[in-house]
């Protein structure tokens, strides 16, 4: 299939070049041949009307669980890449809680190979490797070897690096390769046994709580370790007001710290858990209205750099159990743009320009990936979305293998139209 189109009259928002203007873009075999006003389509080239649509450098989700190898019944690299493309992403970073864990270069090679084969390499997949062997927190993984094989960062993900010295050594070691340590920040001694946010709702529902404190304490410790070692620290899926303040202050102090937030954490509060719906169970848990407001303020003032989904597929039956027995996590790739436009753009928290930064430019910068250049002669790597259209979420239409989303039936504004990357195009129908 030839990726040759005239993209007519879309609004190009490109934080890399600072452009924000209405343009025509002529693509020829996936290469940007020409950018300008009022281009006419050459013979045999389809012109697509993109009036009112946003053309942006390809979106990148830096927190995705692709489940392969090991849990292919939840998701595979192919279904995950398809969900990403449908959700408007041309790149993602996948987490190491696979089986085997991504603590060996062979696993990275395997993932890279599968990703290149999926959809003709439409979606770029980068591995985030484990900090410790088997993510057990006992022995450093071969970070140098993993970095050489292509790991873009390190994390033990759902099993945070609890031991202070281990985290210090990981920072010191990763710094040599200019790679971030990404932490699922949680002091497990404070959150053990918890299944939802500790607070009024947990009290009334009789569910064991995970206090916001557990996250705050860990982020506070890690910030000091990052300051001490001079290493790069990234806080995954931040959920508390306390963490926003900690990161804001650390940035002022000049500590190398960045952070991400998920659409569900800035959209929902722990009121959603009152139904005992297992699709409201995630880790970190949904927090309070005050936390949501603080996250939005952090997004607005730039404390929070990135929007990432923490896409965590689980099979239908795994979630069809008692709340306390259900696994943590929800899918997120195919609702991210809709939730972000609905909650942040239409409510005046973020401009579309800032939205593109948080979905594209910032995650790539944090992971030291080259910026996407939207200019003539370059390979097109684009996300095109409609910020005005409204649609209803239907999980049965998800391309992801799993449907575990609390947003089924939600009316959202903002929808991905198509993505272009590596000479391929994917239309979200």
């Amino acid at each position: 299939m030839r990726t040759t189109y005239l993209l007519h009259a879309g609004r190009l928002i490109d934080p890399v070049s600072g452009r924000d203007e209405i343009v025509d873009i002529l693509l020829h075999d996936g290469i940007i041949e020409k950018i300008g006003a009022h281009l006419s389509a050459p013979p045999d080239v389809e012109a697509v009307d993109f009036r009112g649509k946003i053309i942006a450098p390809g979106f990148f989700d830096m927190h995705v669980h692709l489940r392969e190898p090991g849990y292919e019944y939840k998701e595979t690299i192919l279904t995950g890449c398809t969900a990403a493309a449908a959700g408007g992403f041309t790149g993602m970073a996948c987490m190491p809680n696979t089986n085997p864990a991504i603590d060996d270069e062979a696993v990275i090679k395997f993932i890279q190979e599968r990703a290149r084969a999926a959809l003709g390499g439409l979606v770029d997949v980068y591995a985030v490797a484990a900090v410790t062997v088997g993510r057990k927190g006992e022995q450093l993984a071969p970070l140098a070897e993993l970095a050489t094989a292509g790991a873009v960062g390190f994390t033990d993900d759902g099993d945070p690096v609890s031991d202070g010295e281990m985290m210090r050594r990981a920072f010191e070691y990763a710094r040599m390769f200019n790679k971030p340590i990404i932490q699922h920040a949680q002091d497990l001694s404070l959150s053990r046994g918890g299944v939802m946010n500790e607070g009024f709702n947990a009290t009334t529902l009789g569910l064991p709580g995970m206090p916001a404190l557990a996250e705050d304490v860990m982020v506070a410790r890690d910030i000091e370790l990052a300051a001490f070692t001079g290493a790069q620290y990234h806080v995954a899926h931040m959920s508390t007001a306390g963490c926003v303040e900690l990161v804001r202050n650390a940035k002022r102090r000049g500590v190398s710290v960045t952070c991400e937030v998920t659409p569900h954490h800035f959209t929902l509060t722990d009121d959603a858990v009152r139904s005992y719906d297992t699709n409201t169970k995630m880790n970190p848990p949904l927090r309070t209205r005050d936390d949501v407001e603080a996250l939005k303020e952090g997004l607005r003032d730039g404390t929070i750099d990135v929007i990432a989904t923490d896409h965590a597929p689980h099979s239908f039956d795994e979630k069809q159990v008692e709340f306390q027995c259900a696994p943590f996590g929800i899918v997120g790739l195919e609702t991210a743009i809709g939730l972000t436009v609905t909650e942040l753009f239409t409510k005046g928290i973020l401009s579309l320009y800032q939205l593109v930064e948080k979905f594209s430019t910032n995650p790539r910068r944090i992971l030291h990936l080259p910026p996407i250049l939207v200019r003539e002669g370059e390979q097109a790597n684009l996300t095109i979305f409609d910020p005005s259209v409204t649609w209803q979420v239907d999980v049965h239409r998800f391309k992801s293998k799993s449907k575990n989303s609390p947003f089924h039936g939600y009316a959202l504004q903002g929808k991905p139209i198509c993505v272009v990357n590596n000479g391929r195009v994917y239309w979200n129908t």
Binding site: L205, G206, L207, Q324
Partner: protein, 306 residues
Amino acid sequence: MPLRSKHFLGLDGMPREDIELILDTAVSFREVLERPIKKVPPLQGKTVANLFFESSTRTRLSFELAERRLSADVLGFQAAGSSVEKGETLKDTARNIEAMKIDMVVMRHSAAGAPHYLSTVIDSSVINAGDGWHEHPTQALLDMYTLREKFGRLEGLHVCIVGDIAHSRVARSNIYGLTTMGAKVSVCGPATLIPREIERLGVDVYYHLDDVLPHVDALNILRIQLERDAGRLFPSLREYHNFYGITRQRLEKAGRDIVIMHPGPINRDVEISADVADSDNSVILQQVLNGVAVRMAVLYLLGTRT
């Protein structure tokens, strides 16, 4: 007048009229229990499955007796020796039992919200016989029934719940039910056993018994679980007894006639001293008898709902 809901999952959000309906209905069943022949026919031909995924003696026997007194056919189930031990899910277990054509399920489960989940996957009426730390609504109803019997009213009574509030389904259901009925509720226990933001349910929190005892009409004394995180949530049973144990001496100091309730089973001389448990002010055994009547009322109202 029927109950509003097909299921009986908890007292959180249950309207006052529904609670009154159950308590009033229980009065006539309480009378039945005094007859020489203690059996009535309303649930004849109905089948009730008792699914107990957590060990229970008192509640299970009380429900079973209530079902038999109403002439229902009774199906028993204990997690030990069942398919649960072979790894079957709650959904599959319940659906299999339902496939045998039953009408109601009474469930005890260690996971909060389990009966709510069950009510979404089966057609039968679900009655919550205790779910984790969440609710134990028939226990709270029998507590309220007993208080009403003793005082003639619930409105304006001050009831203090003493002990491990955080891990207690009895405490939560009592708080929901009593506040709905216009009683004043306070809780008293060590700070480590009081869940966060419980004040928002309209209860007063006390850490010292002597501060609250002079003001209360009744105490509902919770069982301290001996095995609960030994040494992490409170230092020792000895210290607990010294600071939170209900003793005759402490009650006398309060200078007030206080009704003593306990959901059982009691740990004598831990949360309650033996002489208080056996005193004239203790209604612990009335609670047990009233429990059968209250459960008959719930079963009757759900089982005859059309």
